[in-house]
């Protein structure tokens, strides 16, 4: 293994190359453009034995990946924001056909207004497409989770597509050291894809993605449900195998100082490091606060969330998305999980960092202050927008 300094996009492109992907079909969009650029370079230089298809839209990118995967090949792509939205209908087809396509998504805000910077609205809006979802905190995680995604997606017990979210610019354009394994180590971890359910063979023709009457449709959907449920254990197995080979341990929810915490902050993606940084500082001031970072959002890690928050009195969810008319998506799921378990823990939502608004140290401190107020029994809002000029909106 060798540590090299890579951009998040570079880490994703390298993972796709080292995963020996057969077909990459992609359309460029900021801030994920570097990924298809780099892959086309790898292919052109002969460093990667793959078909690179520069398609005319993201809808076509996913369509081509579906075709390749249905033909029995390992397929991957990368996109972001509007690109993910444009491929939205094809996302359902990939999962419904049980095709283990892997996609890196540079998490970016959606228009309007036009904005190219980070939030999670794009992948959160793809929450119900039947894809497994991973979120990376740093470039090492982006690299590792891409490799892990192939293993999980292609497992016979799963056979679902998987996306790995990495934060726009904060990871995609940031250089960090990344531990890159040897090719043979990756080959041992990720053997060639040999599908039993989807392939092209003139000797044994099969139909895929066919028309289905009401008497069978629900069975297909239930099959997807079971596959996503099975993914829970498969992800744990693959995480454990990855740790034994590469020494880096992943968890669906990783906790930091949660055991005795009265307040647990739930995070996803790159802001997790900033939150831990602040929590360390606040611990020195005697505030009992911890962090639970969600790495796997689909399937949703109910058990692991309960384990992380069971001793807490207040849970604060920091998230870079909003479902208008409800609150953040992560908040909704944490709330349902915690109260579904019968815990009377207070759950508060904090909408942060939309459209690249920096999540600063003082913003995290404000979140903890509101959670502390709730802990002391003071009335606080359930849904809190942090670092927003509310007066400007009122006066507009």
């Amino acid at each position: 293994m060798a540590k090299i300094v890579l951009k998040g996009n570079g880490a994703v492109a390298l993972a796709i190359k080292m995963a020996r992907v057969d077909v990459v079909a992609a359309y460029p969009i900021t801030p994920s453009t570097f990924i298809p650029e780099k892959i086309s370079e790898y292919v052109a230089n002969g460093e990667m034995d793959a078909e690179f298809i520069p398609v005319e839209s993201e809808h076509s990118a996913m369509s081509a990946c579906i075709g390749a995967s249905a033909a029995g090949l390992r397929a991957a792509t990368a996109t972001s924001s509007q690109g993910l939205e444009l491929m939205h209908e094809m996302l359902f087809i990939a999962s419904g056909m049980r095709l283990p396509i892997v996609m890196g998504v540079a998490n970016r805000a959606l228009s309007a207004p036009i904005n190219i910077w980070c939030d999670h609205q794009d992948t959160i809006s793809a929450r119900d497409t039947g894809w497994i979802q991973f979120y990376a905190e740093n470039n090492q995680e982006a690299f590792d989770l891409m490799l892990i995604a192939f293993r999980v997606a292609e497992d016979e017990r799963v056979l679902l597509p998987a996306m790995v979210g990495l934060d726009a610019f904060i990871l995609t354009h940031t250089f960090e050291p990344v531990d890159v394994p040897e090719q043979r180590e990756v080959d041992d971890f990720l053997p060639p894809y040999r599908p039993k359910h989807a392939y092209l063979d003139p000797e044994r023709p099969i139909t895929q993605g066919s028309f289905v009457y009401p008497e069978y449709y629900m069975e297909f959907k239930y099959g997807q449900w079971i596959a996503m449920e099975s993914a829970r254990d498969v992800i744990d197995e693959v995480f454990a195998d990855f740790a034994s080979r590469f020494g880096r341990k992943y968890e669906k929810v990783s906790t930091f100082m949660c055991d005795d915490a009265e307040i647990v902050l739930i995070t996803m993606g790159s802001l997790s490091g900033t939150v831990r940084h602040v929590v360390r500082e606040l611990r020195n001031e005697g505030i009992k606060v911890g962090v639970a970072k969600i790495t796997v959002f689909r399937p949703f890690p109910h058990k692991e969330i309960i384990r992380a928050v069971k001793n807490a009195k207040v849970v604060g969810v920091l998230e870079k998305n909003v479902s208008f008319g409800f609150g953040g998506a992560v908040y909704g799921e944490v709330l349902a999980t915690v109260h579904g378990e019968g815990l009377d823990t207070k759950v508060l939502d904090f909408i942060v960092g939309l459209g690249g608004r920096d999540v600063r140290v003082e913003d995290v401190k404000e979140v903890v202050k509101i959670c502390s107020d709730a802990l002391q029994g003071k009335a606080v809002d359930k849904i809190n927008w942090i670092n927003v000029d509310k007066e400007a909106v009122k006066n507009a």
């Binding site: 300094v5 610019f169 354009h173 802001l271 690249g356």
Partner: protein, 190 residues
């Protein structure tokens, strides 16, 4: 943790300089991070880029608000951009300029005292045929000044990284770094 902010114009290579400094610091054993400010570099428009280095693992992912060092690739920016903003007291400002550090003493006073360094990176770049007279490529040379003045990243690592990362004129870029290292002038103002 040591934080550096680069000010330049789109096309001058501030973002590349920030990443080269990070890679060089990584060679010297630091954990590192480098990133552009907002990441849309239009040619000629003011841009910023950042480098963080630390002996410990860097977890924080915020923008840099109080840098230890600021590097200015184009002093014409001083008229429109507040390059002193947030610099720590006693911090360092490195400017690409033919002038002496004393000519920028007021900047040191603004940050409550600090070190000013000047280097004529434009002449150094032109001497080695880097870029054109109207658009000299000064981003590699300025890192030589950083190595001398700040001293937490070795000249050797910066030269090695510049040689490895420069898309063309590798030796000329490496020479520019060494010249800036030797020619930079610095002065501390209380």
């Amino acid at each position: 943790m040591y934080e550096v902010r680069f000010h330049g114009r789109g096309g001058q290579g501030a973002v590349t300089a920030a990443s080269i400094l990070a890679i060089a610091a990584f060679k010297d054993g630091y954990d590192v991070q480098s990133f552009p400010h907002f990441g849309v570099e239009r040619r000629g428009a003011p841009v910023m880029a950042f480098t963080r280095l630390d002996d410990k693992k860097i977890e924080i992912k915020t923008q840099v608000y109080s840098p230890d060092c600021v590097i200015v690739l184009d002093t014409n920016l001083l008229a429109t951009v507040d390059v002193c903003k947030g610099i720590k007291k006693g911090g360092t400002i490195i400017l690409n300029s033919v002038k002496d550090p004393a000519d920028f003493a007021d900047m040191a006073k603004r940050i409550g005292g600090g070190r000013i360094a000047t280097v004529d990176a434009t002449s150094i770049a032109l001497r080695h045929g880097l870029g054109s007279k109207t658009a000299p490529i000064v981003n590699t040379a300025i890192l030589g000044a950083y190595a001398k003045v700040v001293g937490n990243v070795s000249l050797e690592s910066i030269v090695d990284t510049v040689r490895a990362e420069a898309p063309a004129k590798k030796e000329e870029n490496a020479k520019a770094v060494e010249d800036a290292y030797n020619e930079v002038k610095e002065e501390v103002f209380g």
